[in-house]
């Protein structure tokens, strides 16, 4: 495979004068290949062997994950960041962390989707194909160094997500969520594109690739910014804020998260939010870095409002999925607060750069633990998950209760979970850079969040007062039990390791 790639590499180099290191995006190529392989399997395999498809997809993801982990920064032999494909991509040690996050999300989503779709008699192959395409797109997105790569990979992922949100064709809620997401996503793409055009137009000069991040940065640094540029930057940030789900572009989140099939909700909440966060991070520390004195207050302000809006909204919700959706908004607020603090601190700390990854991994693990519960909890309609449906969960399934307990604790930031340390690190950073008002609101929102998180947990744990009720145990397959156990170990050990 490598030799084949190096042949292509040589051929490409002969054609293009710029350096193009194909081997550096081998993980992305493999994931995209895996997506195609899923379709091929569906054509070739007899019906009785179709169950192999999700397994091969997961095995493939694990292999790519191992590839990323083992090689680490081997794709990046030089010190610092490596620019590739004529400046379209940039690979650094941070992007390796991003890749791993996305691969983990894909793996866990596949695990959720398989039993979920089987129960609802929906096709599994297509779901995995789209999931893998989205993953490859997200992995490329995290390395983009050029507005064209950024937009193309973001759109590829977005189109895939439109499909996955409306995947349950027989469910009105799923289709409604799909349409809502399509409209909101289309609007955000329009924002993003308009912003890029404005930035390109106002900063452009003959002979300069004004969509390249480095060129944009140096142009801004040279003081070429006009009102048009600022408008463009604001539009771009707004477009990304849609993906992240931050105020004032969070309105689509509750409906879409609630209506989407639960595995897709988990994917939206984690991979898509992470993609938004990473992209925002790339932009504010990359091309827009010279403007950080303006962007940092903007992010801090957005963080404060997002935290409050998300938490207060979740407080009023009585549906589990909706509560988690709105709490996801407040997590976006935490991410924004972290980014504001990183910008103010000038990225001097040791862990600042990895702070986002740690927070997102904590959030991802917590979300998937809760999603496991939702997938296995019997329900007539996926989009209707009232709190009382959790009643007596501790008796019906201790393993699901512990999944819920650890997941919720990690999301709420209860020690010793990884979520606590992630929040603590952000709070410490906020204190260090003396952003006291953000610090205060962050603390306040953690306190508010206890109410709705604890309400979910209370419903599951509390001993039902009517003893007469017949208890129906929920059976959880061994593989899911294993994954729940593994995620709980990550929740605990991750917390202790960072501690």
């Amino acid at each position: 495979m490598i030799s084949l790639l190096s042949t292509i590499d040589v051929a490409f180099k002969a054609l293009a004068p710029q350096r193009a290191d194909w081997a550096s995006i081998l993980p992305e190529i493999c994931v995209a290949g895996l997506a195609l392989f899923c379709l091929i399997q569906a054509m070739v395999l007899p019906k009785s062997l179709r169950w192999l498809i999700p397994s091969t997809a997961r095995t493939g993801i694990v292999l790519v994950l191992v590839m990323c982990l083992v090689s680490g920064t081997a794709w990046n032999p030089h010190e610092g960041a490596l620019t590739n494909f004529a400046g379209l991509l940039q690979i650094s040690d941070v992007t390796v962390g991003f890749r791993i996050t996305f691969l983990l999300c894909a793996f866990l989503t596949s695990l959720l989707a398989t039993p979920f779709l089987q129960e609802r008699k929906a096709t599994i192959t297509d779901y995995h194909h789209v999931l893998l395409v989205i993953t490859a797109a997200f992995m490329l997105l995290a390395q983009s160094n050029h507005f064209v790569t950024l937009f193309v990979s973001l759109e590829t992922a977005a189109v895939g997500l439109y499909i996955l949100v409306g995947y349950l064709r027989l469910s009105g809620a799923s289709l409604e969520a799909g349409v809502k997401y399509l409209v909101a996503g289309g609007l955000s793409s329009a924002f993003l594109l308009m912003g890029m055009v404005l930035v390109y137009g106002s900063l452009g000069a003959p002979g300069v690739d004004s969509l390249n991040f480095d060129q944009v940065a140096s142009a801004i640094h040279a003081g070429k910014t006009t009102a048009l540029t600022m408008t463009g930057i604001a539009l771009i940030l707004g477009g990304i804020a849609f993906k992240l789900g931050s105020f004032p572009f969070h309105a689509w989140i509750p409906d879409v998260y609630q209506g989407a099939p639960t595995p897709t909700t988990a994917l939206l909440a984690t991979a898509s939010k992470a993609a938004g966060a990473f992209t925002l991070f790339l932009l504010v520390t990359g091309p827009f870095q010279p403007l950080d004195f303006r962007i940092a207050p903007l992010l801090a302000g957005a963080a404060v409002i997002t935290l409050l809006v998300g938490n207060l909204g979740a407080l009023a919700s009585t549906d589990i999925k909706r509560t988690l959706a709105l709490s996801g908004v407040s997590h976006a607020g935490f991410i924004l607060a972290a980014m504001a603090a990183i910008l103010v601190s000038g990225q001097n700390g040791d862990y600042d750069r990895h702070l986002l990854s740690i927070y997102l991994i904590a959030y991802t693990v917590g979300t998937y633990l809760v999603a496991q519960v939702l997938v296995f909890l019997p329900s007539t309609e996926d989009h209707r998950r009232p709190l009382p449906s959790l009643k007596g969960l501790l008796r019906r399934s201790p393993i699901l209760t512990s999944a819920l307990g650890f997941g919720i604790s990690s999301l709420a930031g209860v020690p010793p979970s990884i979520g606590f340390f992630a929040k603590l690190l952000i709070l410490i950073l906020l204190a260090q850079v003396k952003l006291w008002w953000v610090f205060g609101v962050a603390l306040l929102s953690v306190s508010i969040s206890i109410h709705y998180y604890f309400a979910i947990l209370r419903e599951a744990v509390i001993r039902p007062s009517q003893e007469a009720q017949e208890v129906q145990p929920i059976s959880v397959p061994l593989s899911a039990q294993f994954i729940i156990g593994a995620l709980i170990v990550v929740t605990l050990l991750g917390g202790l390791l960072f501690g």
């Binding site: 205060g440 953690v446 604890f454 209370r458 509390i462 001993r463």
Partner: protein, 516 residues
Amino acid sequence: METFSQFNPTLLLVAIFTPLIVGLILLAGKTLPRSFSSGFAFLGFALPAAIAVWLFLPSSEAFGSPLKLRFTGPWGFSFGLNGISLPLFAMTAVVGLAAGIKALIQEVENRNAYLGLVLFMLGGTLGVFATDNIIGFYFFHEFALVPTFILTLYWGGEGRRSAAMQMAIYLTVGAMLSLAGILIAMSAAGLSLMDATFEQLFLGLHNPQVSLPTATAAITLFGFGTLASLFPFHSWAAPGYSAAPTPVSMIHAGALKKFGLYGIIIIAAASMNIGHGTVGKWFLICAVANVVIAGLICLAQRDLKQLISWSSVAHMGPIFLGIWVCTSRGVAAGLDAALFLMVAHGLSCAALFLLANAVRTRTGTYRFDELGGLAKHTPILAACFVAATMASVGLPGFGNFWGEIGVFLSLKGESLWLQALVASTVVISAVYSLRAVANVFFGPPSKEITERFSFAPFKDLSGAERLATFILLGASLAIGFAPHLITRHTNEDAQGLAKLSKLTQANSPHSTPSAR
């Protein structure tokens, strides 16, 4: 004795981690045979108590007083005991043993999980007092609270639904506020945040170049105050203790709650100047309100467990006053007495919860109007309850006496109205406690009790219940008759703090006009 000082750190770790490991095994082993899990759990309860008492008693005098151990444990948390935390650590372990005995004799659903969670709670509480790492201190507290909620929700009694939610919100807000205060202080002192110790924070904040944002002291004080049920943030406590299963109430009200007080002393009082200025004034007002208002609420209670829960809130008042008088006026005796009372209250309040539940298991009720004349049927229970009540009221001979009398004596320089107000609470406390004893144990037997007794005669205190009660009351008597057991550890720190407070006052006379 050289060998001991090398042996000791391991002992400390064993004391914290035995309950945690045993608890983990019991949680995982749902089907472990009953006899094995009982014995195993007892080991988890008894070993820390043995170690703590051994560390506490004069035999370990060789380390000097106050005892200071310090070493870095797993994950960078450092563990150590100082003069203030050692008595609290020992008290926690003793209360934990009594609570463990109570938990072992209870008949509950999913017994192994129940025992495991109680052990977790105990391990976390021991960790709170055994670490001198600030984040570790906070970490262990939350670690102990999580099982508290689960135990209350699943095994709790009436009103657990709302009580657990109220407790969760209050305790999280309190913990968040105190964490905010700590983080602000640590970053002001320029400490490495993850592994800073109390001592480093103390030294850092007493650097004259370091200035703290003015609100820090208030945030920290009231954050920790919420956790220790300081008025007006006390309303979670009584419903929370009442709804929890008895061993949980014992550990929570007796030991875990002292986290807040310990935090106030070792962080807020030691280096944040909480006795002076506006903060000091409000601290005094809230502490007095704690004594008076919670006392009055106790008078209105008609339910034994509610009464004990509220009296445990009321008894925090003198402790707050003792801390206040030390930080504000530089009276070392105030802090000494407050620390004494913290230990003694932990023992007496746990004993009361234990015995109240013994009443409940026999009569099926906590309500005063359904109880009465119980002494006839259960004389030993009655005698123990009277003794525990006497301890709680502060009769000489029990540890509480030294604490309460010490706090009152340390207030002798204060205005007359303050002294009168505080003294009146002794009367109130005697009134509600003795009335409870009279209602439950004396007078003509109530109709309900007579019926119940003739229907299914109940026995007096069982051997295990007696053992648990004797452990608690015995410990209280021991420190009551030999107060130096506590003061030899606490004196030096209390005097240091008082001296410091006087110094602060002398250095900045302009900062204290309102408290005068």
